[in-house]
């Protein structure tokens, strides 16, 4: 019996060695349903997309994460849409619109003859329903979901009025410059009222919109299947099916892609990008992202209630080494909280170039000549988090050089989000976070993330930072429509924020996707959604 055990062990060891050595070329088999991957199967044109995680919901009003947003995007339209590759706006379900002189009333003229996938007509009532469902607690269908984005998107809405079948008016409580951009966000998607009435809370699993793709089925843990909407008002898509499959492990996703089971993947490990680019089988697309990766300082607690300490950490981290070596330039170095691709950006701010001596000096000034020890929370993974563990370890090593000891605690992503949005008393001194812009407006970074009005649960200012001067500038910038003036206000706010260092910002991740060469016409969008309506699959 022992000999038998030994032989088995030897065989297993050899197998393990071989497997590891050839870099896991075998498919892991556990993910996906084992079907042969996409491309053209018979006459069917199909794109199988590998997502980072399972969508949480397909109800666009309830979406808060990247993966749900990507899967739900094609099912719906909005009144206004972002143009390809930019956050400039163009007509969507509204053919045109005008704004009253006082900036309070937006009147949208709707496209006629559009129907939802369930055959019911799209009209002004549907628009009113889609907005009021989220913001009116007395709306009969308000209890069909939790609408985390409602306050941000429609917080300034006083009333939605149906003028006639194809005209709708939205009145605001005060002028609010980013409002039109909000109308292009996922939370402003127009849903079929009949379907919400029919499915209730299960609408999130049976989404019905007017978009270029129709929902077919969702097998949790396996895939979300969409098929083309032949009656789409802007012309039917050329692809017959789009399938989204969640594959959590980056390496497993890459392996499935190279084995041919996936046609399109996200979040390629930085050290693998060069190899994919060199291959003639794949197209690798990159675009500077509306993203920022940062450490949140809990300013309610010592020692990060002191500006000098926050600045010291910014000086002590070798951010350039992290971006160039660890991330292999899959991001650009951050000089502040706002990415350079969003207007309002300026690099005329305090520069925190790597300087451990300066950091030690600042720590001594703040009364910590011998440094200190803090708890540091880190997620295992997460959309926009890049390489959370490795980056944490690199930061930890840098800070040890100036006397700051960080006790890393890692959590699974879902648990992590619950914890960092939980009670402030339970927060550690510092933790990792990232943000991906929703609409290209600086308000969507600076106000929601750093204004004193946006402490959780209102917004995502998770370090409970508050600076009266900054708050006033950000509120002012919301109320005026003149972009040059808004630019000036945001630049001013940025200068104050960077000097005050409420975070240690590291980088802005570049959006990178890889796809088979057969997929043609795909363009990345700054908001990170995938638009397959103008994409074709051409096999040679």
């Amino acid at each position: 019996m022992r000999r038998w055990l030994l032989q088995v062990s030897a065989v297993l060891a050899a197998a393990a060695l071989v497997l590891a050595a050839c870099g896991g070329s075998a498919s892991d088999g556990g993910s996906g349903s084992g079907q042969q991957g996409g491309g053209q199967t018979g006459d069917l044109k199909r794109i199988v997309v590998g997502l980072q995680a399972e969508p949480v919901t397909l109800d666009p009003h309830q979406v808060t994460d990247y993966n749900s947003n990507r899967a739900a995007q094609g099912i719906f339209d909005r009144l206004v849409e972002f143009k390809d590759e930019s956050t400039e706006l163009e007509p969507g379900l509204a053919e045109r619109w005008d704004v009253s002189d006082d900036g309070l009333v937006y009147r949208f003229y709707l496209r006629q003859g559009v129907t939802f996938h369930d055959g019911t007509p799209f009209n002004a009532e549907a628009v009113k329903f889609s907005i009021e469902r989220q913001i009116d607690p007395n709306h009969p269908y308000h209890d069909t979901g939790e609408f985390a984005y409602a306050e941000f998107t429609f917080g300034k809405v006083r009333e939605v009025r149906v003028v006639d079948e194809y005209t709708v008016e939205i009145e605001l409580v005060e002028p609010y410059a980013p409002f039109l951009a909000h109308m292009a966000m996922h939370s402003a998607s127009i849903v079929s009222p009949a379907a919400v009435e029919k499915y209730g809370r299960d609408f999130s699993k049976n989404p019905v919109g007017t978009g270029p793709f129709k929902f077919v089925r969702w097998e949790p843990g396996v895939e979300v299947v969409l098929e083309k909407n032949e009656e789409y008002w802007d012309g039917a898509p050329r692809v017959d099916q789009v399938i989204y499959r969640p594959i959590i492990e980056d390496q497993a996703r890459l392996t499935e892609f190279e084995a041919g089971a996936l046609d399109f993947i996200v979040n390629i490990p930085p050290d693998e990008v060069a190899r994919l680019k060199a291959s003639d089988q794949y197209t690798v697309l990159e675009q500077p992202g509306m993203h920022v990766w940062y450490l949140v300082f809990n300013v309610t607690k010592e020692p990060f209630n002191k500006k000098e300490v926050r600045q010291a950490v910014n000086y002590a981290i070798n951010k350039r080494a992290i971006v160039e070596e660890l991330l292999q330039n899959t991001g650009v170095l951050a000089t502040g909280p706002l990415p350079p691709v969003v207007w309002g950006y300026t690099d005329d701010v305090t520069q925190y170039d790597y300087n451990p001596d300066k950091a030690r000096e600042l720590l001594a000034q703040a009364g910590y000549p011998d440094g200190f020890t803090v708890d540091f929370w880190v997620p295992e993974s997460g959309s926009g988090m890049q390489q959370p563990r490795a980056m944490a370890a690199a930061i930890q090593a840098d800070l040890r050089q100036v006397g700051i000891e960080m006790n890393i605690q890692t959590f699974e992503w879902g648990t992590y989000l619950d914890k960092v949005l939980g009670p402030v008393e339970e927060l550690p001194e510092v933790f990792e976070m990232s943000w991906i812009g929703d609409n290209g407006d600086p308000d969507n970074f600076l106000y929601i993330l750093l204004s004193g009005d946006q402490w959780p649960p209102n917004g995502f200012n998770m370090g409970y930072y508050k600076n009266e001067q900054v708050d006033e500038l950000l509120r002012q910038a919301q109320r005026i429509n003149d972009q040059a003036e808004r630019q000036r206000l945001y630049e001013e706010a940025l200068r104050l924020l960077v000097e005050d260092a409420p975070w240690a910002w590291i980088d802005h991740e570049t959006q990178i996707v890889a796809m088979k060469k057969s997929i043609q016409g795909f363009k990345l969008h700054p908001t990170g959604v995938f638009r397959f309506e103008n994409v074709d699959v051409v096999n040679n």
Partner: protein, 292 residues
């Protein structure tokens, strides 16, 4: 039939015999040497490591084994893999042994008491053990860690608790057969206290299966602790624990397979040696089991 028969100190005389039999098993002896070497490394590893296991150097990251100055290469932060493995030996192996000791202490006490006294206490203890056993150990460990927070000590505690039923059951069944022996009856007749009977006579004679179980279990505990760390529930970065190294390395399995291979091999070798030794010990301690 236990060879010692009614001998009151039977286990002592069986000692040399055990060693004679174990010596004949080449694999067990080889494993013993491997484990001795591992033990030595656990003690002196940190002193012979060529580098600080936490020292990062991003310009020297993901170097393959054989790189000058880095015999086993470097990891994703440019840390020396050999130094991390050497430092990790004490942690990863030590956790396995400690967890077994803890589980054994609790489990054996419980099993002894339940088996010897029987009756209501036995029923109560064994139903408690049944409840513990009904939980998959990972689930139990996750629940414990959710309450205590992640960390090496808590992970060790979690797997130790999960291991208690194993020892309680083995001990109890051994005790059940021992307590009916004539020499126990003789002790009772002589007026020995329960405590004396249990500690001096029942336990020593029930020890053989417990030792075998523990030897085999250390390997299991090492794997479980590494598994906890792999899942992010145990040791936290940058601790050079083998499970953490495996977990961090898997993201680089294509460009730097040595990051998973090296800690994987380390765990493999230690656990295999423990299992072979455990096998050998079992045969040596209880020849009747040899062909079963």
């Amino acid at each position: 039939m236990r060879q010692a028969g009614p001998d009151l100190d039977g286990e002592r005389r069986s000692g040399p015999g055990v060693w004679q039999r174990l010596k004949r098993d080449r694999w067990a002896v080889a494993s013993l040497f491997v484990l001795l070497a591992v033990g030595v490394i656990a003690v002196i590893g940190p002193f012979i490591a060529p580098h600080d296991p936490l020292e990062t150097n991003l310009s020297m990251r993901l170097k393959p084994p054989g790189t000058p100055g880095h015999l086993l290469g470097t990891d994703e932060l440019g840390r020396d893999v050999l130094s991390r493995l050497l430092h990790g030996t004490r942690l990863s192996v030590g956790i396995g042994f400690l967890a077994v000791l803890m589980a054994m202490a609790a489990g054996v006490t419980l099993g002894l008491a339940a088996g010897y006294y029987g009756g209501f206490f036995d029923a109560l203890a064994m139903r408690g053990i049944d409840v513990l056993m009904a939980f998959p150990y990972v689930l139990l460990a996750i629940a414990i860690i959710a309450a205590l927070g992640p960390g090496l000590t808590n992970a060790m505690l979690a797997i130790a608790i999960a291991g208690i039923p194993y020892y309680a059951r083995i001990t109890r069944s051994a005790v059940l057969s021992v307590r009916e022996q004539e020499y126990i009856e003789a002790q009772r007749a002589l007026g020995s206290t329960n405590r004396r009977i249990v500690l001096r006579h029942v336990l020593p004679n029930a020890l053989a299966p417990i030792i075998v179980a523990a030897t085999l279990d250390v390997g299991w505990m090492i794997t479980a602790a590494a598994g906890m760390s792999f899942l992010g529930l145990g040791a936290q970065p940058p601790t050079p624990e083998w499970g953490v190294m495996l977990s961090d390395g898997r993201q680089f399995i294509r460009v730097a397979p040595h990051l998973t291979l090296m800690p994987g091999l380390a765990i493999f070798i230690v656990v295999l040696a423990l299992n072979l030794l455990g096998d050998g010990l079992r045969d040596a301690l209880d020849p009747r089991l040899k062909d079963s």
